[in-house]
Symmetry: C2
Subunit: 444 residues, 2 copies
Amino acid sequence: MPDGPERPALQGRSSSTRLDSYVDRYAARTRGMTASEIRALFSVASRPEVVSLAGGMPNISGLPLDVVGRAISDLVATNGPVAMQYGSGQGDPALREQICDVMRLEGIEAHPDDVVVTVGSQQAVDLVTRIFCDPGDVVLCEAPSYVGALGVFRAYECDVVHVEMDGDGLVPGALRDAIAVVRAAGRTIKFLYTIPNFHNPAGVTLSEERRREILAICREADVLVLEDNPYGLLGFSGEPRRAMRADEPAGVIYLGSFSKTFAPGFRVGWALAPHAVREKLVLAQESATLCPPAFSQLAISAYLRAHDWQGQVKQFREMYRERRDAMVEALDDMMPAAARWNVPDGGFYVWLTLPDGLDAKAMLPRAVSARVAYVPGTAFFADGFGSQSMRLSFCYPTPERIREGVRRLVGVIEEELELRATFGSGGHPFALDRGYQAPRPDLT
Amino acid sequence: MPDGPERPALQGRSSSTRLDSYVDRYAARTRGMTASEIRALFSVASRPEVVSLAGGMPNISGLPLDVVGRAISDLVATNGPVAMQYGSGQGDPALREQICDVMRLEGIEAHPDDVVVTVGSQQAVDLVTRIFCDPGDVVLCEAPSYVGALGVFRAYECDVVHVEMDGDGLVPGALRDAIAVVRAAGRTIKFLYTIPNFHNPAGVTLSEERRREILAICREADVLVLEDNPYGLLGFSGEPRRAMRADEPAGVIYLGSFSKTFAPGFRVGWALAPHAVREKLVLAQESATLCPPAFSQLAISAYLRAHDWQGQVKQFREMYRERRDAMVEALDDMMPAAARWNVPDGGFYVWLTLPDGLDAKAMLPRAVSARVAYVPGTAFFADGFGSQSMRLSFCYPTPERIREGVRRLVGVIEEELELRATFGSGGHPFALDRGYQAPRPDLT
């Protein structure tokens, strides 16, 4: 059952309000901009003694620095004045052709004219929301969903309605129900935001059959699909999944990124959009930045030409699979039976649900004291749900550190369970934060 | 006399509307996103036979490619995994320190904690507007003002109220009047957007005395100042002007950029803001892009360390001064006496006003046929004013090409004047576009 559209958007309070002489002058949307739980954790997670299972940073230590360095110094020598100049608002034409080659691996046949380069795919989410969403418009999202996208929807004063997902991804019946409920309430749905492959944070992948069903539902209901696919080439078995966009060019905006297949520091992502939408996205991009960084784009273009980048992605996949295995084995070995988690077939994340009565957000300070960090599930919901769950990342730490992190986490959970057994739920110092119940689906 | 706030924002029509099945679904703000006149000119201006006095591209041919190439390949070799990774949403701390050194040249004493790195200073304008402006809020701008900023204000559904400027920059009395008129109409002013040095497009510089007056007016009226200063170090005589921010840390948000002092292809600009505002800007940046490109930032940081960058800026200044001289001499030599223009003391632009009865926008197709391009003055007003004027850029073409461009432009103007003399104003094929009169100030 989806979140009712009458529910107001979650709006936090800035801790600096009292010191801010501008407090009465900000735009209404700025009230929705608050530090995310992930952000607050960055400073904690960077301490070397903490095993961070929190961040989503790709591990790029395998990149061939000599190849990259040579490609970029050649770029400066041979094409520096172009690489360092303003470029097209839509992005470099040669890179857009290469992007089409990348998308062909997922069954997409597209023209470079319909690709817009963005400052990471985060900016693509921002620009799509900017051109489509007025305050109060509804965006449908999986439950849970990517924290960075939820932040964008909040910043544009959208109302997020979460739709149930399970081990096979978004549940078609729940989507159909959500569309009906939202429209019956007289509200406008602008799009469905979905991460079909190796979901962040849930780790699940939308089954092939469901892809067809979801597309059929959206086609019939005339709901645009925003397919966010940063991890599509990072599957641990078989060929890349066929993109939803491959079967529905007119009804899907597809978002891709080089952040996980190459490196995030260049901030190059893209949107592939129907022609008229692409025109609006280019105008929005010009307004936002004039143009995305030419240097970043030409550097990536040179890397793709100079290197066996698909071989590199294969190495990344094997490295991440090894870490996934380390995490899942450690969970199998050590985690109390009442906790549940999934085994992702790609990407960066395991979604873990704690034994009943435990609260991941309330437990976090204890976990950090025990030198392990994670992201509480509440970060991935627009309305505070998800308190019993957490996202565990296996992308960045080594397998040994992952096992150590899980060991520490298990220690914290067992201590919590003991406290509960001894004092009951009322006796716990963080009890106030626990037990939030909403009539909404989780992965549990 | 300022533009009355009751005037609706200029809203264009997309030529693709008929083909766009999404036309009814866009956000209200998207109606304000239309291709700017500058954008439409980019394709024309890029043809080699056209002398473009239209674009604002810096001439970076003087940059030492060997130094840049070496600095960047060293960066990849010694710090590649950091340069290619996600970074701080606020921007690299070492670069923010260097930015404070840059600003110190204009009298600003600031702490790196109050600097937010942006994707060019265009994005800084976008983020400041995002956090402050609700639809219908008023932004005060010079008349004319920077086309890219006007596009941002339109995209956020602000109403721009232009304030008169003359050869000494923004006119204090006109600012005082504008504030009074807007407030008497019950409207909310969010900030004054101003380009005090070598104005784009007007070429003028705010005098020292007026800086004090403008700051006093804004302090008294409690109006925030957004000081956009991309050209500040590109003055042709004397020391850099003291920034307005230097004398008013609490009431000014200062925007800077490396696009003109180094190179625009890295897309690195910044905002220096009062502490509480800076916090909001970082949140807005995280929502927009997660973080600005680490690679670009570290590349610029390395260049600033590796090179006599101030000596390089001095070379840029001398090169631009030579081109300014070429343009002004050519105008003095050839332009009909009834045309008027200013002699800028820095930056990239001359603002030229045509003889009475001529329309720069209507004349543009003839000019392009005569292989010279410029930007019609209307691009720099939110309401279609400025049709008698044009912006001429001297930054990119060589002095010889500048003289040739002016020669062609003069030919077109003389032909227009002849046509007028022969047929009168009614006989001109572009007469419909001409003669727009608004009760507003221009530079004329």
